[in-house]
């Protein structure tokens, strides 16, 4: 568990981060969103003390970060940054092995870990292990950057716009990979983005920053349904709010008895995709299956009822 308490960073007397408090549960993803200059990066960098807080405290599993030597603290926290920051003079394998090496892991364990991570990110170890970063595509570099951050199985993973440079398709793949890996390893992740879509999609919790302050911290649904300020409402996108809401709910939640014509949807499809299917195929109801077994159907009316929000 990460506890951030009243943390503030002043630059020239002006707060870049203004008295932010929040608690991040173990094995969850918290996404920090906000406009440019709202203090997201500064907040993240205060957690591994790349930036020293002006006041306030961060505790990781009860230990205040100020009580550890900086390099010891940082070796326990994975860190992935925009623009990957790979070491150009190290091979992919050595880049990923950087932290385990610092921690003195035995060689065989490091090699096995490198191959395991490359596999996780769908990069053939045989093919990529001995390449240099300059010999990778931008998306591959970014994935190696994330793999490096994950290598030592850190208690906490900080990611600053890790998918910033990726095209939409690769970006979606990388997000899926991250979700899958996070669930498999049970990692705690704090991720910065200014893409609300990404925040909704990845976050168990979403933290919205505005001018250095944390204006709302809650589940994606709470953020969409009950934005705390006009700024948050604007961030979740006025006219797109019903669609964002639908994208958070799987069809299994509103599936009902009965049958419908045409191709079926999987139970974990989002209502947004179900709506899209209804509109595109001109149907009022679509059958739903779970693992190939019919579950019932989802109707356009039911979807519409969900999208109405609460007022």
């Amino acid at each position: 568990m990460i506890e951030i308490e009243q943390i503030t960073k002043l630059y020239d007397g002006l707060p870049a981060v203004d008295s932010v408090s929040m608690t991040v549960d173990t094995a969850t993803i918290t996404v920090i969103v906000g406009t440019s200059g709202s203090g997201k990066t500064t907040l993240l960098r205060m957690i591994n003390r790349l930036v020293e807080p002006s006041s306030g405290e961060v505790r990781i599993n009860g230990t205040p970060t100020g009580t550890l030597a900086k390099h010891v603290l940082r070796r326990r926290i994975g860190y992935a940054i925009q623009g990957h920051g790979l070491f150009p003079h190290y091979t992919v394998a050595r880049n990923i092995a950087a932290v385990p090496e610092l921690l003195g892991w035995p060689k065989e364990k490091i090699n096995a870990r490198v191959d395991e991570l490359l596999d996780l990110f769908s990069m053939e170890p045989e093919q990529f292990r001995d390449r240099y970063p300059a010999e990778l595509s931008g998306g591959q570099q970014q994935r190696v950057g994330v793999a490096r951050a994950l290598a030592s199985r850190p208690d906490l993973l900080l990611m600053d716009e890790p998918f910033g440079a990726l095209d939409p398709i690769i970006r979606a793949r990388a997000q899926e990979d991250l979700r899958r890996i996070q669930q498999a390893l049970g990692s705690t992740i704090m991720l910065v983005t200014h893409d609300m879509e990404e925040a909704m999609h990845l976050g168990d919790r979403v933290a919205v920053m505005d001018e250095g302050r944390l204006v709302q911290h809650g589940t994606p649904a709470e953020i969409v349904l009950r934005p705390a300020t006009d700024f948050v409402a604007e961030m979740v996108g006025g006219v797109e709010r019903p669609l964002r809401l639908l994208s958070l709910i799987p069809v299994s939640e509103i599936v009902e008895e009965g049958s419908a014509e045409g191709d079926a949807l999987a139970a974990d499809t989002s209502l947004r995709d179900a709506l899209s299917t209804c509109l595109w195929s001109g149907r009022d109801a679509v059958p739903v299956v779970q693992d190939g077994v019919p579950m019932g159907r989802v109707t356009l009316d039911a979807i519409r009822a969900q999208a109405k929000g609460q007022r």
């Binding site: 591994n48 790349l50 900086k70 390099h71 010891v72 603290l73 940082r74 070796r75 326990r76 860190y79 940054i81 925009q82 623009g83 990957h84 920051g85 790979l86 070491f87 150009p88 003079h89 950087a98 932290v99 610092l102 240099y132 970063p133 300059a134 950057g145 490096r148 951050a149």
Partner: protein
Amino acid sequence: MKRGTLLRVALGTVLLALVLRPAWFAWVFAPFAPEGGPIIYERASLLSLSLSHLGLVALASTAATLVAVTLAILVTRPAGAAFLPLSRTITNMGQTFPPVAVLALAVPSLGFGSGPTLVALFLYGLLPIFENAITGLSTLPPATMEAARGIGLSRRQRLVRVELPLALPVILTGIRLSVVIALGTATIGSTVAARTLGEVIIAGLLTNNTAYVLQGGLIVGLFAVLIYDAMVQVEAFLFRRLGGQPSETSE
């Protein structure tokens, strides 16, 4: 690429022959020798002069590299930043001082021989290495440096594992410039009785024997060209290693 290798081998062979079997070239230099005068320098073996010349250059350049890189490391640390302007001034002064003046000033305290030459070569070698090392160490990719801090490398580990290797190609360029300058400057050392190939050139000047001058000049020139080329190759290799654009078009 193929042609470059051929040229290198050819120049290297000529150089070796010039140093080891100077008599083979008597017909080349004969037209430049004075009537009836000696054509090939024989007062000392060219091989021993070459070795002594290269030895002086190597010694001075090694010392200059150690001092300049150490200095550059110190002034690029946060604690040493205040000394950056001062150290720049000092190394620049070393460069503006004429080499002959350095020799003249050093002779009274160090006596005739290699001492003053070593001092002059050392002083001249400092600046290019120092300037390049500062450039290399202060223009590292910010994301890589941020990552190096972020994954928990200590200051020392960052310097040894990341900063120096990444700055190496630029530092090597400085060393190359400095070595080439030293190869030429070392010839002047013979005026204060250092054993260098300058001896051949100066003997030629004193006796009006252009053949000697050409012989000495040619050997020094070939050494400079071949050493320069070898160092360019090493830099290019390192540069490609560090993710520079591979220059496939030139292959």
